[in-house]
């Protein structure tokens, strides 16, 4: 990864909510084509951190460089336009709408007829079927409601959508936390496909095994601070687990649980 230039560099990001310090100076860089896992327990500041990147929160202090230039996103739309897409765990899709309508939500293709612009359903349906086939999901028809898809398939549709619309950085917020084993492996396979296309993936999770399955580098957050970034092969699952929980207490817990956590 050292040979490519980072697409995103975040330096000493701080975020305060009133008197609560959610982030106390976190730094991170992300390269194209890598899957950078952001690990941390609940409340560690993972979500706050990526919201600073996706334009939801403005950081209280610190700098964000995007493609080498300093950036400040006023809102999520700014970040999306710049190529930073976020797939949220449960807010990605609208179940009552068809896959094609969901896929093109906010980016509807239009066709001009006289002075009027119409939704180009033909184009939308064709592209949706193609993109879904690439990701290994066979749809009955593009009119199929998203509600009929499994949780893993919905995540995959959301990821395919973000990539199709030119995301260079893809932030996945706990995409596997609510999924079964098989669905999780489908989503991890999707992440792998996307990474190979040269997209930088930020994979947020608190499951060490999911992270180790696809991650190239691992950054652990704990109580709003980073405990450093490790490369694949430099760190074991036990060490990651340890760093996430803050060492001490988990060591005690693990003793009583016989190393099963």
């Amino acid at each position: 990864m050292a040979d490519t230039k980072p697409i995103v560099e975040m330096k000493n990001i701080e975020k305060h909510f009133g008197s609560v310090i959610a982030l106390a100076g976190v730094s991170l860089d992300i390269h194209p084509g890598e899957c950078h896992c952001l690990l941390g327990d609940n409340g560690a500041g993972k979500s706050t951190f990526i919201k600073a990147l996706s334009g939801v929160h403005a950081p209280t202090a610190g700098e964000i460089f995007y493609e080498g230039r300093p950036m400040r996103f006023a809102n999520p739309r700014d970040a999306i336009d710049a190529g930073i897409a976020t797939v949220y765990q449960d807010l990605a899709m609208i179940p009552l709408m068809s896959v094609a309508r969901n896929f093109f939500m906010g980016n509807e293709p239009t066709r001009k007829v006289g002075p009027f612009r119409f939704f180009d359903h033909e184009h939308a349906n064709r592209v949706t079927m193609e993109e879904m086939a690439k990701m290994g999901i066979s749809l009955r028809s593009p009119d199929q409601a998203v509600g009929t898809l499994s949780g893993g398939e919905r995540q995959t549709v959301a990821i395919a959508r973000a990539v199709y619309f030119g995301a260079k950085v893809l932030i996945l917020d706990e995409p596997t936390s609510a999924l079964g084993v098989r669905q999780t492996s489908n989503v991890l396979a999707t992440i792998d496909k996307v990474r190979k296309q040269g997209v930088a993936v930020v994979f947020i999770t608190h499951n060490v095994r999911h992270a180790l399955a696809v991650g190239d580098r691992f950054t652990v957050l704990n109580r709003g601070k980073t405990l450093g970034t490790a490369r694949r092969g430099e760190i074991t699952s036990e060490e990651l687990q340890d760093m996430m929980a803050g060492g001490q207490e988990l060591a005690e817990l693990e003793g009583s649980l016989g190393g099963t956590v």
Partner: protein, 373 residues
């Protein structure tokens, strides 16, 4: 991906859906079945009552058209995830403002109509703005608007004219260029010709002798059909239509993909106010007067028509065509019971029953779409 199926090959886990099941999840289904049922019933039981004579058809067509106009607005707003309970009050208010501007203040009719439309759109925008800004349920916000607007509709004419009905609108509209767009009729020549060749009856006596009993299509019906076509095209064939579905389906998910949810919702509140004002303008032109009690309960009738038409009360799903059919069922039954000589209070019983039935059916359909989850 271990379990990925080869491209193009069907997934053996996907069951083929039967045609029936496909048809069942169309939002218009309830409306289509209901329309066929209602027409069959009245054709059997009231075919000789004059309900299907030219006058009879014109009668229930007009009533249905009234419901249709407000149902289109309520439908799009409901799909966008909101309600407007102030539609009925807005009808009364808009009619009264036209009367006050044109009759009391003596403004030209076109100016009165234009200013009233602007006022109504402003109130619709305010409703929408309060809803999206405060995050309060639109049910409460527009309930407040229901009382405020109705209050002014009674207060203003009482204070200014010392009465609650203002007449003289037909005289005020005489020679106006804009008023015929709401109060006029089209195809008068065609109907005169139909009368002349004997296809429809003509008056044999009185000062209208020789004129056909139906002398044209009222603009009310033209507005209704135009609004249905407009609403249907916008909803299903434009990108804005996709935003309406998205805003009602899940506002947060829609925002994350860049859909301007607040703008969509405010525009839909304005559209609802617009159709209410169209209704009001047609009504005052037809009656020649504005009354403080006009439009009572119309908001609920609009919502019922929309629900019969297959829209979900929770938003994100529905059809303008369905809502139009719901309005048609509404008008045909209301007038049909009258033609069949049935006690008119039973209409309300019918309404309640069909509403309950429609809501239960819609909930079932929704579960089918989302795969019984």
């Amino acid at each position: 991906m271990s379990d990925a199926t080869p491209l193009g090959a069907g997934d053996e886990r996907i069951k083929q859906r039967s045609r029936l099941r496909e048809a069942l999840i169309r939002p218009e289904l309830g409306g289509i079945v209901g329309t066929i049922l209602v027409f069959s019933l009245f054709l059997v039981f009231a075919h000789d009552s004059g309900m299907f004579s030219p006058q009879g058809v014109m009668n229930w067509s007009q009533v249905s058209a009234q419901f249709m106009i407000i149902a289109v607005g309520a439908c799009l707003l409901m799909i966008a995830g909101e309600f407007d309970l102030s539609v009925g009050s807005m009808i009364g208010f808009a009619g009264m403002m036209i009367a006050i501007f044109s009759v009391t203040l003596g403004w030209p009719m076109w100016l009165a109509i234009v200013v009233t439309f602007a006022l109504a759109l402003g109130i619709g925008a305010l409703n929408g703005f309060i809803v999206v800004r405060t995050g309060l349920p639109s049910f409460i916000v527009t309930l407040a608007a229901l009382f405020i607007l109705r209050g002014f509709t009674i207060f203003l004419p009482q204070t200014i004219e010392r009465k609650t009905i203002i007449g003289g609108l037909r005289e005020a509209a005489e020679g106006d260029w804009l008023a015929p767009l709401f109060g006029g009729k089209i195809f008068a020549g065609f109907f005169q010709w139909l009368g002349d060749i004997g296809l429809i009856e003509t008056f044999s006596r009185g000062n209208r002798a020789g004129q056909p009993v139906v002398d044209g299509i009222p603009m009310l019906i033209v507005w209704a059909l135009a609004l249905v076509v407009f609403g249907h095209v916008v909803l299903t064939k434009t990108r804005f239509g996709n935003w309406i579905f998205a805003s009602g389906g899940d506002a947060q998910a829609a925002r994350y993909t860049g859909v301007p949810v607040n703008r969509v919702k405010i525009l839909m509140f304005m559209f609802t106010a617009f159709v209410a004002t169209v209704f009001a303008t047609c009504q005052v032109m037809e009656f020649g007067s504005a009354g403080a009690d006009r439009g009572l309960l119309k908001e609920f009738e609009a919502i019922i028509a929309v629900v019969i038409g297959g829209a979900l009360l929770t938003g994100g799903y529905g059809s303008v065509i369905g809502a139009a059919l719901g309005a048609l069922i509404f008008g045909v039954v209301q007038q049909g019971l009258f033609f069949a000589g049935v006690e008119s209070s039973l209409f309300r019983v019918f309404l309640g029953v069909i509403l309950l039935f429609a809501v239960v059916l819609n909930t079932y359909v929704r579960r089918m779409i989302t795969g019984e989850r």
